[in-house]
Each structure stands twice: as structure tokens, then as C-alpha cells.
């Protein structure tokens, strides 16, 4: 575990979070004694195999699920208050755009719910459409866009109300690798320009190492943290760094963590 510079505010303080639920085959520990601290402006990836609790951890932080024990402070408040205060934007595995709304109306959905004025909605919609390079698609419907474009709209929607954090649950998992690389670069640009805290769940080791300032390696049965790895690649990195020795060393460390957590066993 690394120490944070005192000047950076902590946006997530999790202490001994556990989540246990009953199934027909007995109790399952989705999360077991997970403790974590995330500072403002970091890009934190959660990586691990299915069932390691990474999505569950994200959902607990988002107050979409409640832990059975442990304490959690998000942005200095309880998770529920953080949700009610609209502190984060959530990007799911699927774009989850409403097919009966145009792209522009989809972007305005959270703004309508949160009570922004009409003029403010229009300004924000334009700004974030441009930020994800989708200017001109305002009047289209979701099914007229490709999967990658829909996911970009989903990201723009999550940013539109200026939340402190961005929570992303395998947002690029359903896309092919070429689109994925492209979107990784775009996400990096977005992070640099908006300076938000990003929590990112992924299956892909290269993706995690490329994007993050910190990588949290998790393993299943029970869900727990195996390793926390700091990376500080230069801010203006491009996809080429994926072949450099430093990159490969960190990727190897991630892989070792996964192996230690029995992620590669049956």
C-alpha cells in the first residue's frame, strides 16, 4: 500500500468492507475485509477474474448494493448521501441509452432529473457531445450509432452533470479490440482534461496498466485485494508504451498477483 501526499483529499475511504449473501449452496463472501483509500484525481483500476468482487466493490461505493459490515466514506459522506448528492457518474457494461430518446435527449436525461434549467441543459449537452467527438449526432437515435459511439454517449452522459467521480464497470468489454484501443486513448484525454477521479473495473491487464495511476488486483473466493500497484507513466502517453519494459514489468506484477490469488485455477 502506498501513502498519499497530504494535500490530496480522499474521495473513497473503505475500511474492512465485507459483503456476504446466502445462496442455496451456502453463504458466499463476495467481498471479505476490503480496505482501500483513493485520493482525488487518481485513475484507479480494479482487475481480477469473474467473482473477485471488483464490480461488487464498485456497486457498494455507488450505493447500488449495501455491504454487510465495514465502514465506507465517499466524498466525506456515507455512500447513500453521496448518491443523493449526485457525487458520481456511473458507466455500465452496456450503454443503457433509452431507445425512445434522441442522443441529445439521452444526454439531458440526468440533467432533467437533477433539475437543471433548459438553457443549462442545452449548453452542457453541446459541450459534452463535443468532448467525446460526437458533434452532429444529436438528432440520431441510439440504434443508428455503433456500439463504440453509444458507449461514448454513455460516458458523456455520466460527465454531463459534473460529478466528482466517474465509476466505470467494464465499459469497453463488449467492443472489439480496435475500437477499444481508440476509446482507451480518448478516455485518457478526457481524464486529463476534466481532472476527475476515475474508478475503472476491467478484465484486461494491458488496459488497466495503460490507463491507471493505481491498480487494485483482486481475487475471488472470498473477494479480496491481493495487491495495490502504483504506476506513474508520463501523462501524455500513447499506446506505444505498451511494448516498453516498464509497462511489461508492471503487467507481470499484475499477473503474479492474479496467480497468487488463484485466479488462473479452475
Amino acid at each position: 500500500m502506498s501513502t498519499e501526499p497530504a494535500s490530496k483529499r480522499l474521495v473513497v475511504e473503505a475500511n474492512a468492507i465485507s459483503l456476504r449473501f446466502e445462496t442455496a449452496d451456502g453463504p458466499v463472501d463476495a467481498l471479505s475485509n476490503v480496505s482501500l483509500q483513493i485520493a482525488e484525481g487518481e485513475f484507479v483500476s480494479f482487475i481480477g477474474p469473474s467473482g473477485c468482487g471488483k464490480t461488487t466493490m464498485l456497486r457498494v461505493i455507488a450505493d447500488l448494493q449495501q455491504p454487510t459490515s465495514g465502514t465506507l466514506l465517499v466524498n466525506g459522506m456515507t455512500a447513500e448521501n453521496a448518491r443523493l448528492a449526485r457525487s458520481y457518474g456511473y458507466v455500465f457494461q452496456a450503454p443503457a441509452l433509452f431507445p425512445w430518446r434522441t442522443i441529445e435527449k439521452n444526454l439531458k436525461l440526468p440533467l432533467e432529473i437533477m433539475g437543471f434549467s433548459e438553457s443549462e441543459q442545452k449548453i452542457r449537452a453541446e459541450r459534452y457531445m463535443a468532448m467525446v467527438n460526437l458533434k452532429g449526432f444529436e438528432r440520431k437515435f441510439p440504434w443508428q450509432l455503433s456500439g463504440g459511439m453509444q458507449q461514448r454517449v454513455s460516458i458523456a452522459r455520466a460527465l454531463s452533470f459534473d460529478p466528482a467521480m466517474l465509476l466505470m464497470d467494464e465499459p469497453f468489454g463488449a467492443l472489439d479490440e480496435i475500437v477499444r484501443d481508440h476509446l482507451n486513448e480518448q478516455l485518457l484525454q478526457l481524464w486529463k482534461s476534466t481532472e476527475k477521479t476515475v474508478l475503472f473495473v476491467t478484465h484486461s491487464i494491458p488496459e488497466a496498466v495503460f490507463l491507471s495511476t493505481k491498480i487494485v488486483v483482486m481475487s475471488p473466493r472470498p473477494g479480496r485485494i491481493i495487491d495495490v500497484i502504483d504506476c506513474d507513466f508520463p501523462a501524455d502517453r500513447s499506446l506505444e508504451i505498451r511494448e516498453t519494459p516498464e509497462f511489461l514489468k508492471i503487467a507481470q506484477r499484475v499477473r503474479n498477483g492474479l496467480r497468487a490469488g488463484h485466479s488462473y485455477d479452475e
Partner: protein
């Protein structure tokens, strides 16, 4: 962890899960039914109140509130019979007379049922035959199918009176015209349902059959029929309820004497409210029984086809 220490808690967990499932499924329905019956009683009191009180006034006998209350539960020609009155009349109609007596509900139910079942079988056979023709002939599909779909929008039940009258004029009475109406009514939903069913196989599966040079007949028996089974039972359930309604409505025009529809009609002509309600309950019982039988057959077929 060894297996033995896990099985006991696991079994108890399963037991509680199963019991919770039963509770979850039946308690809400039971509550609703009880609530409906309670509302029914209250409504019966409210609606029959004026009737009963006026009857007391006419006879100029002294009465109390509880007299009127008791009266609403027991009126002879109530506006809304109380549940127990309906149940009593129903039970009386079923068990109180020999099964083939003209006042027995069983007799009337059998009359309606015979027309329903005969019409249903005829309609189902024709509907399936038509669906087979449509699926195998492009001409019929393009020319006939739109008309079948249009016929769904037409109140076909309105044809019942003329059928009965016209067929009566040429000497056909009784079971046959009623069955023809029922058959006509359930023939269309079955045809449409089966067309959907026969065309439901994935194009990939049909292509697979083509790679094996399967004939049309083989594709029909080995692929289309099995795929159509869910659609078959869904449309059979719809058809049997329509067939029942058709048989009941067909009994109306001639001012018929036998059958549930006739019973409804005479109950309304002579102001015999309770008899009317008992006939309705009989119709409901028939409908549920028919759907139940189709459901049972469906479950049998499904389990033989590998569903769990």
C-alpha cells in the same frame, strides 16, 4: 470445508427458500381474494339496502337496522347477491338435481360444453390445416394471410345470430350450428398462431436442414412442428376460451332453452338474479377447467420434449 458440514445448513437453506417461495406466491393472491370477497359483501349490503328497506315499508311491519342487514344477505331478487347466496345456488344447481334434469347446472354445462369442444376441435383442425397451407404456399400467404389478420379486427361474434337463424331456416338446429360458430371463432387465432409457430425456427436451423437435403415434409415434421409447440398451446388456450364464449352467445338468438347462455338469458328475463350469477360461476368453472386441461396436456408434452 468437508462436504458433511455443508450439507445440513444447505438443506435447511433450501427448505426455507422453498417455503418462502410458496409463501411469496400464494399469500398475495389469497389476500387479494379475501379482500375482494370482503368488498363484495360490503357492496351487497350497500346495493340491496334500499330494496330490502322498501320491501319492509310496503308490508308496513316494524323493522330494525339489523333486520335490514340480514335482509340484504338473503334477498330473493337482490341487486347484488351475497357470495354465500351465489355459492349456495351454484352448489344447489350442481348437486341438487339429477344431472340431466332441465334445472341442473350440469345439464346446461354439458350442452354448452359439447358445442364448445366440438367447435374447438373442428376449428383447431381447420386452423392448423390452413396454417400448413399458408406456410408452404407463397400465393396463399400473400393473398390470404392479410385477410385472416383483418378478420381479427372484425367483431366476428356479431355473426352468431345470423348463423343460427340462417342455419335454422334450412333445418340445422341444436349442436351443429353452435359448433360451427365456435369453430369459426377459434379457427382464426389458431391459424395465425400456428403460422407464427411454423415460421418461428431460426433461419440458421432451416439452412442446416438444407445442407442435409431435407425434403419439405422432413423439415415440417422434424423442425417446424417441434418449434411450433409453444405457439400451439398458447393459441389453443385462447381458442378454447373464445369457443366457450361463442357457444354461450350462440345460445342467445333463438331464446334457447338449454345451455349456460340460455340460463343467463332466462335469468335476466325473469329477474332471477341469483340464478344468473350461479350460471356465471358455472361458466367461470368451465373456462378454468378447460384451460386447466389444456395446461396439463401442455405440461405433459413439454416434459416429454425436455423442458423442466
Amino acid at each position: 470445508m468437508t462436504s458433511s458440514s455443508l450439507t445440513l445448513p444447505a438443506r435447511r437453506a433450501t427448505f426455507f427458500a422453498a417455503r418462502n417461495a410458496i409463501v411469496e406466491r400464494y399469500v398475495p393472491v389469497a389476500t387479494m381474494v379475501l379482500a375482494l370477497i370482503a368488498i363484495w359483501y360490503v357492496a351487497a349490503v350497500a346495493m340491496n339496502w334500499a330494496l330490502v328497506r322498501d320491501a319492509f315499508e310496503r308490508e308496513e311491519t316494524p323493522y330494525t337496522v339489523s333486520d335490514v342487514l340480514a335482509g340484504t344477505m338473503d334477498a330473493e331478487r337482490p341487486l347484488l347477491p351475497a357470495p354465500h347466496q351465489v355459492i349456495n345456488a351454484f352448489v344447489d344447481g350442481v348437486f341438487g338435481y339429477p344431472p340431466l334434469a332441465p334445472r341442473s347446472l350440469i345439464y346446461h354445462s354439458l350442452v354448452t360444453l359439447s358445442a364448445t369442444v366440438l367447435g374447438f376441435i373442428l376449428g383447431a383442425l381447420f386452423g392448423i390445416a390452413l396454417a400448413l397451407l399458408i406456410v408452404h404456399s407463397r400465393v396463399l400467404e400473400r393473398s390470404l394471410l392479410p385477410w385472416i389478420i383483418c378478420s381479427q379486427m372484425v367483431p366476428v361474434l356479431a355473426l352468431a345470430p345470423i348463423f343460427i337463424v340462417v342455419l335454422g331456416a334450412i333445418g340445422l338446429q341444436g349442436l351443429l350450428p353452435k359448433s360451427i360458430i365456435s369453430a369459426y371463432l377459434c379457427f382464426f387465432p389458431i391459424a395465425i398462431g400456428m403460422v407464427k409457430g411454423f415460421t418461428s425456427p431460426d433461419p440458421l436451423q432451416i439452412e442446416l436442414m438444407r445442407t442435409w437435403s431435407a425434403t419439405s415434409r422432413q423439415v415440417l415434421w422434424k423442425l417446424r412442428w417441434p418449434s411450433a409447440v409453444p405457439y400451439l398451446f398458447a393459441s389453443l388456450k385462447v381458442a378454447i376460451t373464445i369457443s366457450l364464449v361463442g357457444a354461450i352467445v350462440a345460445e342467445l338468438p333463438t331464446g334457447g332453452e338449454a345451455g349456460i347462455g340460455a340460463r343467463l338469458l332466462s335469468g335476466s328475463y325473469y329477474g332471477q338474479t341469483i340464478q344468473l350469477w350461479a350460471a356465471l360461476v358455472a361458466a367461470a368453472v368451465l373456462a378454468s377447467a378447460l384451460i386447466g386441461i389444456v395446461g396439463l396436456i401442455e405440461r405433459g408434452v413439454n416434459s416429454r420434449m425436455g423442458a423442466h
